[in-house]
């Protein structure tokens, strides 16, 4: 059992890596790199300054991993050290010292370019795809440790891991100095109660929308307006603030406002806002739609199966065919129109906001429509299948009542394939819905994917691909494990009785 699960997990991780690699290669190879700037405000601003533009462009390319980029001062500093006389000489491009540095760089594969207007020289080196892929994955998992922060402004930063208390001394936490995060492990009253900042995933920064924020943070940070409450900061001042102390991370230079509140450099904190994060929003809608669709389709599917061929069955089948045949875009607009015209429900989520229950009704229904159709079809089918099974006939010949037969024999067998899909449905709910979120302007992951593709936010697309892939693979794994709990014929043990079957995928 343990061995099997371990192998499955390893295989799952491998699959995730393969899918992410393929997505990475496709996007970074085939999407023209200059389109990244199409929606970049800074690029637009400096596009009429041709002496700066190449520097900015190449710097961004380096950030996105396309190439290595070194400006002239970096080349000289790298070769001769900062603030030496050799460095000063090197900064003259006609000097022999510069030529030596240039030769060194060219040996490494760099190509030198001179900006004609300013005479500034810079070097770039295209990074081969496999090398880029490797550096993407090697940087992906980040483990926070006391040597992470190497800040020239604070060379004497203390480096230690210790157990300390939070600001108002209500809880203990594993804390760190020298790490990226101040709190490594902490406890609070929100699920799952024990939280950690030690291991995190890094997919690069979002560009151009949510400019410069790490992609994963974009997806997980709260949205909406700040929620303020009185907070006593480490310096002792009490201010109305939305600061979340456990999120504080290292900040190189404190501004004057920070200095009144913080006693160390861990002043880069997230703020408590009134709307859930993109991931959270998608999750809320997903779970609501999931509950709604299961509540409707399982009983209705059973009813249709037991009234096969009657009016209710025909209506249900008509609905299934309608939803499957008509594109989602069309019937979601149709239902939105019905909802807004006849029930005065809002046409978009932001119009009443996340704190009004009416905002949730139409998106939830729209999300549930297709899954109701699918579930209805399968539930009905499984029930009808079981109804003609030999053991159901035998149960009937035993004199069991129809109710007993339904509950003990038909439903239990029909529920197995439905249960197999349940983790997938739950996890799929987190993934969000691209079309529904777009139509109702719901700030969730589905809409983010849509927006990111439109503005060539490549890192974000990769991040979302990674998340969706992981969720899908995890759900398959969980489904398989769940089914072993329900179906006695499937066992993951290979030592016990030889007759037991193995789960194979």
């Amino acid at each position: 059992m343990k061995k099997y699960i371990l192998i499955r997990i390893l295989r799952s991780i491998f699959s995730i890596l393969v899918v992410t690699s393929i997505a990475y290669m496709l996007i970074f190879e085939f999407v023209p790199r200059n389109r990244v700037f199409e929606n970049d405000g800074i690029y637009a601003k400096i596009s009429n300054r041709p002496e700066q533009l190449p520097l900015y462009v190449n710097q961004k390319y380096e950030e996105l991993g396309y190439l290595n980029f070194s400006a002239q001062d970096e080349i000289c500093r790298d070769t001769y050290g900062a603030a030496t006389s050799a460095y000063t000489i090197c900064m003259d491009t006609t000097s022999s010292l510069f030529s030596i540095a240039q030769a060194k760089y060219e040996a490494k594969g760099y190509v030198f370019t001179t900006i004609e207007l300013s005479g500034v020289v810079y070097a770039t080196r295209e990074i081969p795809m496999l090398e880029r892929l490797w550096s993407f994955f090697s940087k992906m998992v980040v483990i926070d440790n006391p040597n992470v922060i190497q800040d020239e402004a604070h060379p004497d930063l203390e480096r230690k891991i210790y157990i300390g208390q939070n600001w108002n001394k209500t809880s203990y936490a594993l804390m760190c100095s020298g790490c990226e995060h101040k709190y490594l492990v902490y406890f609070d009253w929100s699920f799952p109660f024990i939280h950690q900042n030690v291991v995190s995933l890094n997919f690069g920064r979002s560009l151009p929308n949510f400019y410069g924020i790490p992609t994963l943070e974009v997806l997980t940070m709260d949205q909406g307006i700040n929620v303020l409450k009185p907070v006593t900061f480490p310096s002792g001042v009490t201010v109305d603030s939305g600061v979340l102390e456990y999120t504080c991370s290292y900040k190189s230079s404190l501004d004057s406002l920070d200095q009144t509140k913080f006693t160390d450099n861990y002043a880069n904190c997230s703020l408590n806002k009134d709307a859930p994060s993109m991931m959270g929003t998608s999750f809320i809608f997903g779970i609501l739609a999931l509950i709604f669709s299961y509540l409707i389709s399982i009983p209705l599917g059973m009813y249709m199966a037991s009234h096969k061929g009657r009016a209710i069955d025909k209506v249900g089948m008509a609905y299934i065919v309608f939803v499957i045949a008509v594109p989602a875009l069309a019937y979601i607009y149709l239902f939105r129109y019905i909802g807004s015209t006849f029930f005065q429900l809002p046409e978009s989520y932001p119009s009443l906001g996340p704190n009004n229950i009416l905002s949730y009704i139409m998106p939830t229904i729209s999300l549930a429509l297709p899954s109701i159709a699918g579930l209805l079809m399968w539930t009905r089918r499984y029930m009808v299948d079981q109804n003609t099974a030999d053991y159901v006939k035998f149960a009937r010949s035993k004199g069991l009542s129809e109710g007993q037969i339904y509950l003990k024999h038909i439903l239990r067998n029909a529920i197995i394939p439905i249960a197999h899909g349940l983790p997938g449905a739950i996890i799929g709910a987190i993934g969000g819905a691209i079309i529904t979120e777009r139509i109702y302007a719901i700030p969730g992951m589905g809409k983010m994917l849509n927006d990111s593709i439109r503005v060539f936010n490549n890192n974000m697309v990769i991040t979302l691909t990674f998340i969706f892939t992981s969720l899908a693979i995890l759900s398959v794994l969980l489904g398989d494990l769940l089914i072993t709990r329900i179906d006695p014929r499937i066992s993951l043990d290979d030592k016990k009785k030889g007759k037991k079957k193995h789960v194979k995928r």
């Binding site: 099974a389 053991y391 035998f394 010949s397 035993k398 004199g399 069991l400 003990k408 329900i486 014929r489």
Partner: protein, 351 residues
């Protein structure tokens, strides 16, 4: 021979609605079942054997219905029962059924134990602990070793023969008066077949129930049945004691059926098979249903349906050949000395 009739079917007609047409599956069948006996119903596929016995437990498919006739069992007419509640009291507790395929007769995801006890709890109103004891006792009786240990196992942990034993145990859990065995050994291999037949025989002695075998395996019939009813195209065409049916069959269909026993085949010669196909039951059958395939058919066979002719007190055949006006015909050679052949094959008295 004066025995108590436990179940009596009179002129039963069963019809099925198939799309917009009506199929008459059982055409005026009358049958008496005597207490404690073993009756075998034989006939080729589609002759109505299973449909007939399904009427005894109200298990006809939803498009089937009994359009005429009466079935008397324990002073009530089963045809008149319309609600499931009444049927639930008869099924399992008074008339039980064992189906053909033990592999699929048991629910794959419930334990053997619960599948036996649920019927005991339902019909005998026992609590689960008492039911468990009864069930383990039954499992012992049908020959499951270590019954108590295997109580909580699942069907997939049992072999085919063991599952059929369990099915029998479930069928007999409430001491039914009648056990209908619908081809109980067809899906099992030959060695297991004999064991299962032996088991049912022994249990019948112990429990004293009446058995109806539905089969097309005449070997099974010879082994277990006291009386045999031969069905063709929704009718019983001949019935009598198994001795009578095997050694002095009167109906040409019975002859054909016996001639096609693979055991009677002679090496190097083609096995006998009945030519043609049974008539479509969507249309009314004129005359003798077997006439088209019957080499002994006379003109009247195509015109008028034969009545039952009594051969002995227990032996009846529905064929014009028994009419005094009919010409004498020779038995087909294959079955003329059936008795000798069977003795030769099995080395002992067959029936």
């Amino acid at each position: 021979m004066e025995r108590k009739v436990i179940l009596s079917a009179r002129d039963v007609v069963v019809k099925f609605r198939v799309r917009d047409r009506v199929l008459t599956a059982i055409r005026k069948v009358s049958l008496d079942l005597y207490e404690g006996e073993t009756l075998a119903i034989v006939g080729e596929s589609g002759s109505g054997k299973t449909v007939l016995t399904k009427t005894f437990t109200g298990m006809l498919e939803s498009n089937g219905f009994i359009s005429e006739g009466k079935i008397f069992f324990e002073d009530q007419d089963l045809v008149q029962i319309k609600n499931n509640k009444t049927w639930e009291k008869i099924r399992g507790s008074k008339i039980a059924t064992v189906f053909q395929d033990p592999m699929s007769s048991l629910n794959p995801i419930r334990t053997i134990g619960t599948q036996i006890t649920e019927v005991i709890i339902k019909h005998q109103k026992k609590n689960s602990k008492e039911a468990r004891e009864i069930a383990i006792d039954l499992m012992d009786k049908v020959g499951i070793p270590n019954a108590a240990d295997r109580f909580n196992e699942y069907p997939f942990q049992y072999s085919g023969g063991m599952r059929q034993r369990i099915v029998i145990a479930i069928a007999l859990a409430c001491r039914p008066k009648i056990l209908i065995c619908d081809e109980p050994t067809t899906a099992l291999d030959v060695t297991i077949q004999a064991q299962i037949l032996e088991l049912i025989k022994n249990l019948q002695k112990e429990f004293g129930f009446t058995t109806i075998y539905i089969t097309h395996d005449l070997g099974v019939v010879a082994n277990v049945a006291q009386r045999v009813a031969v069905m063709y195209a929704g009718q019983i065409v001949e019935y009598g004691t198994s001795h009578e049916i095997f050694y002095s069959p009167k109906h040409p269909y019975t002859w054909a059926l016996l001639s096609s026993l693979p055991q009677l085949g002679i090496k190097g010669e083609k096995l006998y098979s009945i030519p043609g196909t049974p008539p479509s039951l969507f249309y009314e059958v004129k005359g003798d249903a077997f006439a088209q395939r019957n080499p002994y058919a006379m003109n009247i066979d195509f015109e008028e349906e034969p009545p039952f002719f009594m051969i002995t007190e227990s032996h009846f055949a529905k064929t014009w050949l028994q009419d005094p006006r009919a010409p004498k015909v020779e038995l087909p050679s294959a079955i003329r000395d059936l008795h000798a052949t069977i003795v030769k094959i099995y080395g002992k008295e067959g029936v």
